[in-house]
Structure formats: structure tokens, C-alpha cells
């Protein structure tokens, strides 16, 4: 049955109907309805509450100096990992680029040769770039990677001064991992 044939009453109501004046306000309890004493009591209760808050310690963190601890699984900036012998893990399979929902990863693979061995596999990533302005930090690249070459680290303060600096190149991504992430990954092995 087409929608227009429905009588207008049958349509679902607006989920939160707009409120008129004093509508939806909880009714005052009986007995202490409109007495001035109750109103003054309410006012002083408010003042007492705020005064109590005044003398309790602040709950805020002073951000640049103090930071909240990141979860173990926090997804911040990316790192490319190496094997213990110094070879790059990335084998240039481009699965990360394929998994990326926003297409921010660019991988150009090249063949490994005997003289120039960069990764243990057949190929390696000649170019590996991530556009951090596009990245949504979903972590699919990490899941897609067959050799656990790419991981997302805990850093989230990624601001910079020009758009070009947000194209993270391979050199930048190959920076050593923060020790705690390294330890976590080692423990998983």
C-alpha cells in the first residue's frame, strides 16, 4: 500500500514532541508546592551545592603537562616495523592500500635483488606513503597486513604547519616504535 493513501493520523508521531510552556516539567510535590520557604530552600540548596564544588579539587587535567593514559589498543599514527635483523617487514603486497576505506595509503612495490635485499620476501615497498589528513585511523591496514608490518601507535598529537608535511613518507614511518608498543608486540609473539 502506497504511503500517501495512509490517513495522516496513522503516521508515526514525532519521536520527541515539542514542548509547550511548563509542559513536561515534573509536577511539584504536594504540600510544598508554591510556598516561598520551599523556593528559598531550593535556592539555598543550589548555593550549597556550588559552594561544595568550590571546595572540592579540580577534576580537569592540565593537558600539555598531564595526559590521560592511552588504551593499549589506541589507534594513533602509523609505524612500519622491521625484523630484528634490520630487514623491513613490508613485502609490498598492497593489501593495506586495498583495505583502506579512504584510500590514503600509496604503496609502489619493487623486486628485491640479491645485492639489494630490503625485505625477506620477493618484493618490497619502494614507496610507502600515508596521507594523514585523509586517514581515519580505522586500523584496517593493520588487520589486513599479512606480515604485521604496519601498526598504529599511541601518538595523537599530529598537528603540523603545512599540508605537505602530512604525507608521511617511508622514512618517517620507519622510525623506531615507542618502547611500550614494541614490548606489547613482542609479548604477543
Amino acid at each position: 500500500m502506497p504511503d500517501k493513501d495512509k490517513p495522516p493520523e496513522a503516521r508515526p508521531e514525532h519521536p520527541t514532541p515539542l514542548r509547550g510552556r511548563d509542559e513536561g516539567v515534573p509536577a511539584k510535590p504536594e504540600g510544598q508546592g508554591t510556598s516561598i520557604a520551599a523556593d528559598i530552600g531550593a535556592l539555598t540548596k543550589g548555593l550549597r551545592t556550588t559552594l561544595g564544588e568550590f571546595f572540592s579539587p579540580p577534576v580537569t587535567l592540565e593537558y600539555p603537562e598531564e595526559k590521560t593514559p592511552r588504551s593499549e589498543r589506541y589507534r594513533g599514527r602509523h609505524y612500519l616495523r622491521r625484523y630484528d635483523n634490520g630487514l623491513e617487514r613490508c613485502i609490498g603486497c598492497e593489501l593495506c592500500a586495498a583495505a583502506c576505506p579512504v584510500g590514503c595509503i600509496l604503496v609502489i612495490a619493487a623486486e628485491n635483488t640479491e645485492e639489494n635485499r630490503i625485505s625477506p620476501g620477493e618484493r618490497y615497498a619502494k614507496t610507502y606513503e600515508i596521507n594523514m589528513l585523509r586517514c581515519i585511523f580505522c586500523g584496517y591496514c593493520e588487520e589486513a597486513c599479512p606480515v604485521q608490518a604496519i601498526v598504529l601507535g599511541p601518538e595523537y598529537e599530529l598537528s603540523d604547519t603545512s599540508r605537505e608535511k602530512f604525507i608521511y613518507t617511508k622514512e618517517k614511518l620507519l622510525e623506531p616504535l615507542p618502547p611500550d608498543v614494541q614490548a606489547r608486540l613482542d609479548a604477543k609473539k
Binding site: 543550589g46 548555593l47 556550588t50 564544588e53 568550590f54 579540580p58 580537569t60
Partner: protein, 337 residues
Amino acid sequence: MSDIYSNPIGHWVVIAVAMTLLLFVVLTATAYTVWFERVALGRIQRRPGPNRVGPFGLMQLAADGVKLAFKESFVPEKTDKVLYVAAPAIAVAAAFLAWAVIPIGLWYNVQYWIADVNVGILVVFAVSALNVYAIVIGGYASNNKYSLLGGLRSAAQLISYEMSLGLALVPTFMIVGSLRLRDIVEYTVHWGPYVGPIPLIILTPVGFIIYLISAVAETNRAPFDLPEAEQELIGGFLTEYSGLKFVMYYLAEYVNMITVSALAALLFFGGWFLWVVPPVFAFLLKVVLFLFLYIWLRGTFPRLRYDMLMRLGWKVLLPLAMLNVIVTAIILVAVEG
């Protein structure tokens, strides 16, 4: 010390020095009132408040002032240029003029600085009445609907609350028998063995409460800050103002706050008398307590709706103030015969 004032040349020297000094004192006090408000409001919301510039953020206002002073001083298109520039100046002038008659209890014999006129409190009212102009003209000259609405709202608010404010103080004048602020502070009672000044709040508690509410409304502070209600009027009459012109309005608001607190301390809490505390510190302490009350109220209560504001002013405070005058008069006649 008192003969300084009677000597004609010394009189003018004292006045000239006092004016300059008072200007700086009030300016500094204003700056630290803003700091105090931000910190206290922060503490009420369980955050530290400004603490970056200088120790405890005490230099925050200097930083803010420099920032605002170096902003481009522009006048928007299609405004009434002359009035647009004049309005903030009126605000500041009106705010500072009141301090000409406020005795600040400097030391034991020097209780007033600039003027000790016998209609002191009326002068304060007269000058604060000029505040309306700053707001209405600022709103009108901005040529902006929100500014105009903010200006008109505030004009209505100020006029309605000025009446209650004035009437709330009448019982004090009737008891003391003088409008000179110094006489009111030095009002002496002979109660049995006790002879000396008392805080007049004991004699006029109702007047004090009416004064308190009206004063908050009169200075456009929360919960009566309808003229600038950000959520509905995008800043009211301040919408089109920026840079130094904005600073002037801001300054005027805080100077008015201090003025009203100082008046409350003088009229109801015995001004500079506080046990053995030196006068100027006693006075300062009382003013700071009132400023804290202001901030406390701002941190606690939500803004009133416009019709509530008008109802409170005209139907509750004004009749109450009149009743207070009549009852005080009856009691005075009964006591004094």
C-alpha cells in the same frame, strides 16, 4: 590629616592626586576582579581557571588586555559612527564617576578621597542612571537587530530595578538621617553598654535583600544578564563591538560590579569598621566577599526568562521595598516618639 581638606590648595592637590590614584586602583582592582571571577567560577565547575600567564595566572589580564588592545579598531558599515564610538566611552565615564563619592576608608582619619557630599548616595544613583545610555545607544548605533533588542531589554531592566534599588535604601537613610555615605558608615548606636558603629543590616535586613537582588540586576550580571544573553541575543548590545571598544564595556561592567559591592559594604556592613582590622583592609575584605557572592550566584543560578525578570521586579521587589519603607517609618516613629 583632616586639615588637608580644609586648606584650599591642599584640597585641590589631594583631589588631583586622589583622582589619578583612584583611576589606577580601580583599574587594577577591575583586572583582578576579572581574574578572581574566572578562577572562582572555574573552582565552582571543578577546574583550575586561568593559571598559565604568571604565577596563579595573575598576569592573565595583562595578556588579554594586550591582545584586545592590539586588535583592529574598526567600525562596522551602516552604523551611526559617532554614537557607536561614543557609547562605550559613556559606559566607562559613568562607571568611574561613581567613585568620586565613595569613601574607601583609607586610614583612620582619611576616610574619603575626592568628595564628601551630603547627597553622596544620590550622586552614585545619578551616575549609574547614565549607564542606560551606554547600553541603549550602543545597541541602537550598531544597527543590528540583536543589539537593538539587547539594548531595549536592558533599558527596561535597568529602569525597573533602579526603583527597587533606590527604595531598598530609603529605610537606611531614614534610620541614619543622612545621605552622606560617611555618616551612614559612622552611624553610632547606644545599645546598653555598647556605643559605636554597627552594620546596618541588623536594622534593615529586608532592604539588604532587595538591594542585593536589584544590584545584581542593575549590573546586568547573571542570573539577570538578559541584555547580553549569548544564547538568544548573540551578545546583545555587545554584538558589534570588538577590540578596545569592547574592553571599555567590559571594564565598565566590572567597575559597576565593584561599585555596587562597595556600596553594599558601606551601607549594610559597616564599611571600614571591622574590629581591629585596619580600615582599608576591612573595607577591601567586605568588597571581596561581595564580589565572591556575585560570582557564586553566577555559578549557581540559570538565567531568568524576560517575563520572570519583569514580574520579579515590578510585582515582588517594588511592593516589598515600599512596604519596607512604610514599616520602617512606623517603627521609627514608635521608637523615637
